[in-house]
Amino acid sequence: MQPASATYTGVPRWVLALAAIGAAFVLLPLLAMVLRVNWAEFVPLITSESSVAALLLSLRTSLAATALCVIFGVPMALVLARTDFWGQKVLRSLVLLPLVLPPVVGGIALLYTFGRRGLLGQSFEVLGIDIAFSTTAVVIAQTFVALPFLVLSLEGALRTAGSRFEAVGATLGASPGTVLRRITLPLVLPAVLSGAVLSFARALGEFGATLTFAGSLQGSTRTLPLEIYLQRETDPDTAVALSLVLVIVAIVIVSLAHRTGAPSFRRARGAS
């Protein structure tokens, strides 16, 4: 704290003051929540059967959603960053829409797509695949909201990294597949990882779309945020304890994302 006055940091004091207010605005609610935690009962509350079921389901579905985000998001980012076609800008905006869409709207849209009477739901039903009220529905909802995070961060990294190395590789006779495998992906691997961590975090916090689209049943669709929402009705202590668990997981994720994201800066700078 104090060295700030000793050495020039390049930030006027009033900026520091406003930043402090902003930081307090973010941190104070978290502190207020921690103060309400019933520590004597904390461990029994978070290890109850329903709490553990919700936590495990959340971790399982979020990992599955993250895997889907990587499988489909990396190609999407590559297409958006490395190709040029008519309507690309519009497509990019539309693909990133879930970022700004209220999750409940996403849930309604998914319902009309994958629901029993939805656009694709009837075809799925013919095939004997039942998505409604299944864990699959949770994963679909989480992937829907989390995908833009990976696409956005990876596309930015691809543009920053530039395509000179790829061009050189191509002139030396490497096929597009080889260029992708040997040059592009290693170059942006840190961005893929940090994007995946962000997607995981978003999937873990998903609430609105899941509630609207997947329902809520212990062990199959009731993820941690839904369990918190329900417990708050009768058992605020459990709701607060589980909220704290989610906050701790979020802090771990954010620090992970920072650690994996940092090298991409170094590499990008080293490359230029």
Partner: protein, 264 residues
């Protein structure tokens, strides 16, 4: 400009926090409700259970027409949320709950002005999508194989009523989803995702053609009672009390009955 001292910065922060943290609990007692016995004046905020949305919107309008000096602001949410907000200092003048348990939380906290008045009851009804694809005709049909049933979770009032009905009938229901609000149950039925849902009679009435209702005799055993009370230390205590009497009196009854609510 740039020479803001560190202590001053702290003061600014503290002030900003004080303003943002200031809940409007201590409203100045202006515009006292000491006007004559004939003309009511004042503004009140009514916190009412979500299932009362349509009826209380109508009743508030009727109340304002009858008492031109008053305005009624409405806030609808789950009863449990509303009680929590009021206990945490939300500026409510009247609270109408969908069950007695949540009302008890308010009165136990010493926030009720006088005793709550029971003004309506609500019973469960089976809601099915139009055309009733699963062919549900009674409560036992909900336990049939392959029926996608959605109910309220036992933690919320409609879920407690569901559990009561099921155990009274000796049925074990295996729902595909236990929602945290009756609105979510209805949503799963109107969208056709579920074959049937257990909701309140009033929800079926309000949903119109989007769902069909299937009545069942066991429902009478688990009726929810709706109490209403004026909240303590209201700035417009007289208006709040008048609204409570309006809802519980001859003006409120026909509106509530038309929506499907029963007499208390």
């Amino acid at each position: 400009m740039a020479r803001v001292s560190r202590p001053l910065a702290l003061v600014v922060t503290a002030l900003a926090l004080a303003f943002t943290g200031c809940a409007p609990v201590a409203t100045a007692p202006t515009a006292g409700p000491t006007a004559g016995a004939t003309a009511l004046t004042g503004d009140i905020t009514v916190y009412a259970a979500a299932s009362l949305t349509a009826t209380f919107t109508d009743l508030a309008e009727a109340f304002e027409t009858e008492n031109p000096g008053t305005t009624v602001a409405l806030n609808f949410a789950g009863s449990s949320d509303l009680v929590t907000q009021i206990i945490e200092g939300a500026p409510a003048d009247v609270f109408a709950s969908a069950d007695t348990a949540n009302m008890a939380r308010l009165t136990d906290a010493g926030l009720g002005e006088g005793d709550p008045v029971d003004f309506a009851t609500n019973t469960l009804e089976i809601a099915v999508p139009p055309g009733n694809p699963a062919g549900i005709t009674d409560l036992a049909g909900l336990a049939g194989p392959g029926v996608k049933l959605v109910v309220c979770a036992p933690e919320v009032p409609c879920g407690r009523a569901t559990a009561a009905v099921a155990s009274a009938a000796g049925l074990t229901l295996t729902p595909v989803s236990e929602e945290s609000s009756v609105t979510d149950v209805l949503g799963k039925v109107t969208s056709g995702e579920a074959d049937a849902g257990l909701v309140y009679v009033t929800d079926v009435t309000a949903a119109g053609a989007a769902v069909a209702g299937v009545e069942f005799e066991e429902s009478a055993g688990a009726a929810n009672t709706y109490p209403i009370v004026a909240v303590r230390d209201s700035a417009s205590a007289t208006v709040a009390q008048a609204f409570v009497e309006f809802v519980g009196g001859p003006a409120g009854a026909p509106v509530l009955r038309a929506a499907g609510f029963g007499a208390p």
